[in-house]
Amino acid sequence: MVNAADEYTGRLRWPRLGQDVAIVAWPSFLVASVATMVCFGFIDPALIGNDDYPPPAFENRMTGYAVGFFFFWLVAALSSLMTLYLVRTAHPEPTDEGTGDGTRSPE
């Protein structure tokens, strides 16, 4: 256990809001990266909607990739956000020492 020679007086972890933002943004970023790769491995953005009429959605492929990436990121982030919300607002699981009615006994 550290006590002597320790000059930290404040908390060493992120505030809860910071953790929440990170938990939503980062996993969805990773998922979006993979989704972008797989999606555009099979689909050429220059060919999306390019059936003579209507005109191609993305004349510049780089725009197509970027729009795809941020779209996937947004969708995955929404899903992460909802999951986090459900986890954060649920009653805690009854623990072994718990009361079993959804409330946790004092630890």
Binding site: D6, R13, W26, L30, D44
Partner: protein, 460 residues
Amino acid sequence: MNQATPEVDGELYAARQKIYPREIGGRFQQLRVYAVFALLGLYYVLPWIRWGERQAVLFDLPARKFHIFSLTLWPQDFYFLTWLLIIAALALFFFTALAGRLFCGYACPQTVWTETFVWIERWVEGSRLQQMKLAKAPWTIAKALRKGTKYFLWAVFALWTGFTFVGYFTPITELGHKLLTFSTGPWETFWVLFYGGATYVNAGFMREQVCKYMCPYARFQSAMFDNDTLIITYDEQRGEPRGARKKGADPKAKGLGDCVDCTLCVQVCPTRNDNSKGLQYECIACAACIDACDEVMEKVGYPKGLIRYDTQHGLEGKAKRVLRPRTLVYASLITVLLAGFAYSITHRNVVAIDVIRDRNALFRELPGGFIENVYNVKILNKDDAEHEFSITAAGLPGLQVDFGDDEVEVEPGGVQSVAVRLRVPRGELRGGSDIHFTIRTLDEPALEATGKARFLAPTN
């Protein structure tokens, strides 16, 4: 963790105190320095290497072609990438089962870039104590200058990182010219700033918080651990009970273990973790505590290794096993997949065909009792030499192929679209039939590829 200041959950906005890990040398820290130089060296140098007329490693997204030295991969070769990712994941499992979080400590981009940012910080602001003093000091011009210099150097390094990243996707020499003349395209500018910005924030400010709150690997790595996995661990039996002592004093006479309770292992820890409480997911396996403890043990004249790489079995004095079902299964899977990958990438077909039916008409009835279908045949030549192709079709009696020529020339790395008319005598033909197109190079040995299509005829 600090006992004097218990951490309260649920505080939404309380700012986090920055961790100033104590500087430490030693053999594992030396290894980590080598790893940083090797990995970042590779990252920053690779895009500048040339291969003939082009950049050796270029993921040409606008043209949808990946160049890796002599190899050119097309979207059709996408499964190679998937395959590689599976091999990489298995390798991660394998090394985790073998020696814990080697990846985190030595190879993870988060760790590696954080390390370089810490170096810059130390170079500008000095040692840990000097940094803490500076942070507490009132704002003066000298302080602003020092802090400003640090942020400036971080920003330059981060931008260079972003520039290099984009240099894997846009020829880097061109990109450099564009950057110097401020004429980079909108997406190039955006991704340089995006990747550079992410590096700046992740390595400069978020640091160990990324490992603690954002990294999924940190949480599931323990699933790959067993009692024979090398982990960084404190030898509790040897160390406890801990306590301060005079130099040369006999610990046994005082009833003490080998731990002198100097707390250096926690002070050098970049995540401020106390490993004497057992293995925790906050530990990124940087081995700084091993180096710190070894130094202390040497000073007080005890054998090194109170904190060391060891296995659970090793700590309990049991035999250590490297070869065990878990490692053997991972190793054989990796070997099989790697061999398969090497074989298929060297034996992959470098010509490919893509057949699309003409959309304007299902079929045409020609005088003389013939039915005609029109196709757009795309010939892909992924080889690095030019080839001439013949086009044939099979699947229906009396099939005639007409594309206005005898052969089609396709340049190296090129795609050629050819309008092909197929004619079949009407005869008994009703409805649709499957047919096959075959392209074949005229040189020896011939390269060929076959594509399926549908031939349509009137149903009555």
